[in-house]
Symmetry: C2
Subunit: 540 residues, 2 copies
């Protein structure tokens, strides 16, 4: 955890791919990472080979403080990336070694720190309520203090482009204060996101010419130009680019890491990732959408499900003749496909990889892998999706690895759900389930505010007397998607159930024409998964 430079990329420290999904990306409305999520995000980004992973703001946000603690305690072993803590400079008029927020940066044990600094005089005066001299002293003091304590420091010059347009001397003085005190990179931030590429490139070029400093770029997407602005800045001389996975970020978001890497790596031929890693873009993008609990953007450049899919009648026949003429690049370069069918993603290699991730060694079991691929393809053709349902996928893999049927702690028999709506609008849901457990047949009835809730309650009522450890499992989230294939055919319903037991979270999937049955399948998988996991950790 003491790496301060990217490892494994041909460009080494000469070019920085800096990811801020966990800090700036987490500002997106609708994202609420748990610490476990944050660790998973960092592992995915590291597997892609980014150079820097900004993990959050220790001291300011308790979850971020915990993330750095757990990372330093050994939960995060990074192969390529250096871990970065984000924070602000000391407060106006305060001493840097007495500022608790600055101490928290050191305590995070992150080897690299990004400090945010004001570079727009209006913000210095109206938000910080201080003057340019003190602002520059705050920056210089804090950079020097962190460098003296062995940290590598980058400085985010907030609102740089607006500030430079308003008062270029102040903006440049801020950059120089940071660099003189020992900051390695000064990052020009389009914090309000109002820039357009031609002007932005001119400014970047001008700043580099005037200061000679190593310059980075950080763009927000308020003009829908964040990716273009980031690439234009690199073409204008920036050697450090800050992005977020899938462009997550507040307002319109940030520059999308995957599009920026696609443009730099595939279009401009810059070896910005370790060799072979560009082909992981699609996989990592989808995995990070899953962790963020957001649907992947099907039309996202490079990595979207539709990014290389053709519908236009004008092209369809010609594409067969020569696909290269109708794609801007070979989709395989970024791990995508002319038509990435979900089923095609469940290839042998990815299932083996997934198995390894889940702790199942499939390398000696080609039969089980083959069986699992067939089963996944078959199920996905009927609307199942395992992209977001690791626990169901694990059950499926275990089933294929088992010689006989997988041994489960209970057998499901049948259920009945009754929904009654009275004339006054009052609705009651009641479920009765029958299960075999501990050698007995149990029947239990419970009410709920809806059919799924009632089924869940009845199932627990039947099982808990035999399997008391089930009590710790709770339903954390429940998602429904109606899948309509073709007009006129019957729709099926896909249900995702997220469960947790205080230690772990896991997701299961169920698909059926009947929404209640789809939910039942996912609920049962969730409890079976818990039972299997429990058997492994406590073999009694």
């Amino acid at each position: 955890m003491t790496r301060t430079k990217p490892a494994g990329t041909p460009l080494g420290d000469d070019f920085h791919v800096f990811d801020t999904t966990l800090r700036d990306g987490a500002q997106r409305e609708g994202i609420a990472y748990s610490v476990t999520d944050k660790l998973a995000v960092a592992r995915q980004l590291d597997s892609l080979g980014v150079g820097f992973i900004e993990g959050g703001w220790p001291g300011a946000l308790p979850k971020d403080t915990e993330f750095f603690q757990r990372a330093a305690a050994g939960e995060l072993a990074l192969e390529h990336a250096a871990l970065v803590a984000f924070g602000s400079t000391r407060r106006p008029g305060a001493k840097v070694d007495e500022d608790p927020q600055v101490s928290a940066l050191l305590e995070s044990r992150a080897p690299v720190v990004t400090l945010v600094a004001k570079s727009d005089r209006r913000h210095i005066e109206s938000a910080l309520r201080t003057d340019v001299d003190e602002n520059c002293a705050m920056i210089a003091d804090t950079v020097k203090y962190l460098v003296d304590n062995g940290r590598r420091v980058f400085v985010d010059a907030e609102h740089f482009f607006d500030g430079y347009a308003f008062d270029p001397e102040t903006a440049l003085r801020v950059l120089e204060s940071a660099a003189s005190a020992g900051a390695d990179v000064v990052v020009l931030c389009d914090t309000n996101g109002g820039q357009l590429p031609l002007q932005l490139a001119d400014t970047v070029r001008e700043v580099i010419a005037r200061t000679g400093l190593r310059v980075g770029i950080h763009c927000q997407d308020d003009t829908s130009c964040a990716v273009a602005n980031s690439v234009a800045a690199v073409q204008a001389g920036a050697t450090h680019v800050q992005c977020t996975a899938n462009g997550y970020g507040e307002r319109a978001g940030n520059a999308d890491l995957f599009a920026v890497l696609g443009n730099l790596g595939a279009k401009l031929g810059m070896p910005v990732l370790p060799e072979g890693k560009l082909a992981e873009l699609t996989r990592v993008s989808h995995a990070l959408a899953e962790i963020a609990n957001l649907a992947p953007d099907t039309h996202q450049a490079y990595v979207g499900h539709s990014a290389f899919a053709h519908k236009a009648g004008l092209h369809a026949s010609a594409i067969k003749v020569d696909p290269e003429l109708y794609n801007h690049m070979d989709p395989a370069e970024v791990g995508n496909d002319m038509r990435v069918l979900v089923t095609e993603m469940a290839g042998r290699a990815s299932l083996e990889l997934k198995g390894a991730e889940l702790g199942l060694d499939l390398s000696q079991r080609p039969d089980a892998v083959g069986g699992a691929v067939r089963r996944v393809k078959e199920l996905e053709a009927h609307g199942w999706s395992f992209e977001a349902a690791d626990a169901s996928l694990e059950l499926l893999l275990r089933q294929e690895m088992a010689d006989d049927a997988l041994e489960t702690p209970f057998e499901l028999d049948s259920y009945r759900v009754v929904l009654d709506r009275s004339a006054d609008g009052h609705v009651v849901a009641e479920a009765t389930v029958r299960v075999g457990v501990g050698g007995e047949r149990e029947i239990a009835t419970a009410e709920g505010n809806g059919p799924v809730n009632a089924l869940d309650a009845a199932l627990r009522k039947a099982l808990v007397p035999h399997l008391p450890w089930l009590e710790s499992v709770e339903l954390a989230d429940y998602k429904v998607r109606i899948l309509v294939d073709e007009p006129g055919t019957d729709a099926v319903t896909r249900v995702l159930v997220e469960s947790r037991d205080g230690e772990q979270e896991w997701t299961t999937v169920g698909v059926h024409a009947n929404i209640v049955e789809a939910s039942w399948l996912a609920l049962c998988d969730a409890l079976i998964y818990k039972a299997l996991r429990r058997n492994e950790s406590c073999p009694s």
Copy 2:
């Protein structure tokens, strides 16, 4: 319908905002416009003040042929825009006046035609299987023929940037053939979407310098740079920009009309729309998402629900001091808000506007409008959403306008749904409903493949003997969203039901903790809506 130039924009014919949502945008996977949808899209775009609306490809697609017929027959009265038909040049070796596809362009009666032409030698040879001479003759013949028949003609130079890089002489010859034959604008198309802004701007500049022609730009979003590329092309001298609403289009999509207009109009200060129309961007964007049956992108630049929303703790306190420092522009300029709450969108003005759209004159009924605003806010606070449920909103408005309770053709009493899953995995759903209709109490039971299906079937069984016209109503689509407010609180379920009767489609909404009850509410609204509409058109 004989307008060939934009009306009402300060720039007049000097700058073209050319929308191709109905042609190129319709290539997006998941969009399937009906002819009625297409007319509604065109009306929205015209109300925004775009200069050209490309309606489709008459002759090639039956729906597009019908769209132009109905437009020419008077169903589309355009205030600002000229209507454009899209088509291809005559076939190789054929006579232009004998080519049925070219005749269909004339028969469409569209005053403006965009012809697609190949400008990449590789496509000419491999897809068209002809040579450059014949390709140029095809273009020149077709342009001249259309111009001689009184049409204004633009030419889309397909794959221009790739073609120009591969063989600039051929690419330029294509442009010149088009212009010499009478095409007003030659449109440089980044058909495969692989361009980046700095290079693209250089090419546009070079082409204008070498040919002196009036140049347009058409960008696809495969590098996530379509908006930036379009703006850069305009800055490099293009005076005609082709976009689609919300960036709809195949693969990663096209340049988003609203972001391009925001950038040109608000950032670069070009009066590209009639005065005051920039403030309509947000409204029109959302309306077009509704018609396309796609969820609006909450993080879309300029027009997204979150485009000016702030979450960052770092900013939140400072924003109160001076909001201008934390937004790249005043959101009101594009009709957006620092925080457009759904409830805030249901203001008096927008409800009156909506009422007018639905044929309800609310201008003399301030009491009803006030009541409706209160009711909408109250319901939206509980998870209802009327953005996509016009029919439910209309029922609500009618309810507020009625002196007493709205008269409905039937009264709902109660229902019971029973779901049985047997041990062999077989699932049966059975619903019994009780309704009052035609002065009688009816009870009916039906089965279905799920609870909602069964309820729908039972409801029809009870009602159809009394109200036979209900038989034409069918459930076209069904969407479910689970709304989780805060962890730990109970989620509610929002159901959208889309119904159709062969003439019309309409959407209703229901919200309840119980998914079946939420569906029931939306189903009942759908039938009541049909009944009210029917009473109006056939007052017998």
